[in-house]
């Protein structure tokens, strides 16, 4: 496996060699910065640090990647900066979270849209799940929806904020089940939302699969459903929403990956698009990600472009009613 990756990397380097000849032969010649629009310690920050840990290797970028956190307002601060102030010199990369930034750009009030960024590659896909406290009386989504039907607007459930994956999932659930729910956005992100569920402040919550998986291991929550098209390898026993009779697709799945500002030299984009996915495939990266319970999904630049376009369409439709 390792040999195969090394071989592939060599082949790719050879392929990109021609592009590199056009004045970027030495790229990168200094360390590269990766902007993460969430705080140190968050899931995105944690995963970004792992997937870039082998960047300095000879078969990767040959230069280390330093993480820069620009947190605030659900990611808006970082992406605003990335769209307007970051230099498009190939040394400033950014981490994206879909559907977050697309939903925020549709909602308005920010300086970016899908056209402001050029995707490089995707490293992870973290579906949203519905969690309730371990001692909750709810044992399936049907119980939850039954309660919500009896108490319209009275089913409180937490999530990481407005116009992020959790909020999208909440909207989808409301629409698919035809009930009114009370979504409570938490200012302390996914960890705060999870705390609210465990402490019994809210009846349930939408949260990241990776965090929910860990909380279930700790015995503090039950996971009732996955907001994705298929069951997840970490949670083989948890049915999808579709299986439980709610027509919900994977629009809320939190895709994480690397992008550059629009206007970056195409030769640099091509180089990064060729090298970065192989960097994500490194076996050390994969084992660390698996150990932390973070689901990986490596996608190339073309696949990400297509995924962004799809999300833009779905989200415009979903958010039109707000």
């Amino acid at each position: 496996m390792k040999k195969w990756i090394a071989g592939a990397a060599l082949a790719l380097t050879a392929m990109t060699g021609s592009a590199m000849a056009e004045g970027h032969g030495d790229y990168p010649e200094r360390p590269i910065m990766l902007m993460v629009s969430y705080g140190a310690g968050g899931a995105t920050d944690f995963q970004a640090r792992i997937v870039t840990m082998t960047a300095g290797n000879d078969d990767a970028l040959q230069m280390p990647v330093a993480i820069l956190n620009k947190a605030g307002a659900g990611g808006r601060v970082g992406w605003n900066w990335f769209a307007t102030q970051a230099e498009a010199d190939g040394y400033t990369l950014g981490a994206y979270n879909v559907p977050h930034f697309i939903a925020q750009s549709i909602e308005g009030g920010v300086d970016y849209s899908v056209d402001s960024f050029e995707p490089i590659a995707n490293w992870g896909a973290d579906p949203a799940v519905f969690v309730v406290a371990a001692d909750s009386e709810f044992n399936s989504m049907a119980d939850v929806i039954a309660y919500a039907t009896e108490n319209p607007g009275g089913l409180t459930f937490s999530g990481a904020g407005l116009f992020v994956g959790h909020h999208i999932a909440a909207l989808q659930l409301e629409k698919a089940a035809g009930v009114k729910l009370a979504y409570i956005p938490n200012n302390a992100g996914g960890a705060g939302a999870m705390r609210a569920v465990i402490a019994g402040e809210v009846l349930g919550g939408v949260n990241n699969l990776s965090d929910a998986f860990r909380a279930r291991e700790a015995g503090t929550v039950k996971i009732l459903g996955v907001f994705d098209l298929e069951r997840n390898a970490f949670l083989e026993d948890v049915p999808t929403m579709m299986e439980q009779g709610y027509d919900i697709d994977n629009a809320s799945v939190n895709f994480r990956g690397v992008m550059v500002p629009a206007g970056t030299d195409p030769a640099i984009i091509d180089h990064l698009a060729a090298v970065v996915p192989t960097m994500f495939e490194n076996s050390r990266v994969a084992s660390r990600m698996a150990a932390g319970g973070s689901p990986m999904q490596i996608m190339t630049r073309d696949e990400v472009i297509e995924m962004w376009a799809q999300r833009q369409e779905t989200l415009e439709e979903l958010l039109a009613g707000l």
Partner: protein, 503 residues
């Protein structure tokens, strides 16, 4: 007594070497303006990729412990608080350093840190299961009242006039609302692109404390050296120990408040030092001396902000919920090795957890030893001529505030706030209540909004915010605290404290 069983693991050559590295590195990075404990621990994470889980966690534990204490060094010597935790330390610590008692201030701060810190870690060792329930008791309504309690502290904190103290606090609370609001995502008061991301606390801290001091040095002009020379007094370490133990009230208030506040998720160590400082000032018979270089101020503040280290990890280790940003970074350090915190952590990975906790115990002691060793030497910073000092602090302020987010906007905000603060200070306002407002604003607002949303969906707002013994306990403390401030104001004792000392 599991922790004693695993004590030996800390003293193997490699582990002890890492412990030393973490302690010394933590002290240096903690003393660097702009580097909060969270960032310091995040910077150490890449080193742990290559280490065994046990070794990695020992490094992180030692670093976490000592960065919190390291922040006191720059707070005392340069009046630049390394992190919000060290704000209260500047109030008396820096005044002591200016009087030539820097060595004493540093010694007191390290000893108080170590005592508070050890107490906190012992709480973590012995009372974790009990404390875990307590950490969950603070929901939106309780956190809201807690933030209001913090606001009531504002009026009496380091200010010679309650009205001006409250006004400073209001300015801070308003500054905190600038930017996108956390819950609705609406834009508020964005009058310049530098503040579009809101005002980051660390650059604001640097500006509010360091810049007025730089300008004050300018205002003294190009004076002869002999007029300004400060004789740095030596201070025997033994006397420092005796002093700390003689001031039991400040030490116990600091330690107790730090341990309790450290436990509450989301509030963390940011306000522990300030609340402890204010409480020991209110209770002390010598309250007039606070702010003029009173040892009790340093002892209360530093014992509080290290006492919170241990308890702040309780929610993480037992419930897998990081209670503070630093705990979130430590969670990352555990996860990369496939270790999931939770109730089974102590039975499944005792060989990792206990050395980690032990490293914080031993780290506290090592930190204290190193601190005491450098204290006498570091205090000589006070002898640096004012011209050099002003230039050094200005340079550090710029680099420090830039390095937080690599943002020029933060540097501009730092300077603008600092300039304004210099003039405000000359008219009786002070920086500490302003910063407290800046920190508490988002906590109070977000929890009020969340509480109101939950309440509207369930029992109604009155019932939500006014039910439960913890809510009522906090409300009673708020009322008492306000009443006490009014009583003090009426007695007119407060007008004399600060001005007499600095005039």
């Amino acid at each position: 007594m599991d922790f004693l069983f695993y004590m030996g693991d800390v003293f193997t050559p490699i582990n002890f070497g890492l412990l030393l590295l973490g302690t010394i590195g933590g002290l240096i990075l903690g003393a660097t303006p702009g580097l909060s404990p969270t960032m310091t621990v995040a910077l150490m994470i890449p080193f742990t990729f290559k280490l065994e889980p046990q070794q990695g966690l020992i490094l992180l534990g030692a670093a976490y412990t000592s960065t919190v204490a390291g922040g006191a060094v720059s707070a005392i010597l340069l009046k630049i608080p390394g992190a919000p935790a060290n704000i209260a330390t500047t109030l008396d610590g820096h005044t002591m350093a200016q009087k030539g008692q820097g060595a004493k201030a540093l010694q007191l701060s390290f000893i108080a840190s170590a005592i508070g810190g050890l107490f906190g870690v012992f709480l973590l060792i012995f009372l974790t299961p009990v404390l875990a329930k307590w950490a969950l008791a603070f929901g939106p309504s309780e956190l809201f009242w807690l933030a209001i309690l913090g606001v009531t502290v504002i009026g009496t904190l380091d200010s010679s006039s309650v009205v001006k103290g409250l006004l400073s606090g209001c300015i801070g609370l308003w500054l905190a609302t600038i930017g996108f609001d956390d819950i609705m995502g609406a834009q508020r008061f964005i009058f310049h692109s530098s503040v579009s991301g809101g005002i980051n606390v660390i650059p604001a801290l640097i500006g509010l404390f360091a810049i007025p001091q730089v300008i004050t040095m300018f205002a003294k002009g190009r004076k002869g050296t002999d007029a300004e020379i400060i004789s740095v007094k030596r201070h025997p370490i033994g006397a420092a120990f005796r002093e700390v133990f003689a001031r039991k009230r400040a030490l116990s208030i600091g330690t107790a408040i730090g341990s309790i506040i450290g436990l509450i998720p989301g509030v963390g160590g940011q306000i522990a030092g300030l609340v402890a400082y204010d409480q020991s000032k209110k209770i002390s018979p010598e309250s007039a001396k606070f702010g003029t270089g009173h040892p009790e101020g340093v002892i209360a503040a530093e014992s509080a902000n290290n006492a919170m280290v241990g308890p702040s990890l309780v929610p993480l280790l037992t419930l897998s919920i990081p209670g503070s940003p630093t705990a979130a970074v430590l969670l990352g350090g555990l996860l990369i090795h496939g270790i999931f915190p939770g109730p089974t952590l102590f039975t499944q990975y005792p060989q990792v957890v206990w050395p980690f906790i032990n490293s914080m115990l031993i780290g506290q002691i090592l930190m204290c030893v190193f601190g005491l060793l450098i204290a006498g030497w570091a205090a000589n910073v006070a002898r640096v001529p004012p011209a050099v000092m002003a230039a050094v602090v200005l340079g550090l302020a710029v680099f420090g505030s830039y390095s937080v987010q690599h943002s020029m906007g933060d540097v501009y905000v730092m300077m603008a706030l600092g300039l304004a603060m210099f003039f405000l200070e000359r008219f009786g306002f002070s920086a500490a209540p302003l910063v407290l407002g800046l920190i508490l604003g988002p906590i109070a607002e977000a929890n009020f909004m969340q509480g109101a949303m939950i309440a509207n969906a369930t029992v109604g707002q009155m019932a939500y915010f006014f039910t439960g013994w913890l809510n009522w306990l906090l409300i009673v403390i708020v009322v008492v605290s306000i009443g006490y401030s009014i009583w003090m104001e009426l007695r007119q004792r407060r007008y004399t404290t600060k001005e007499d000392a600095t005039a």
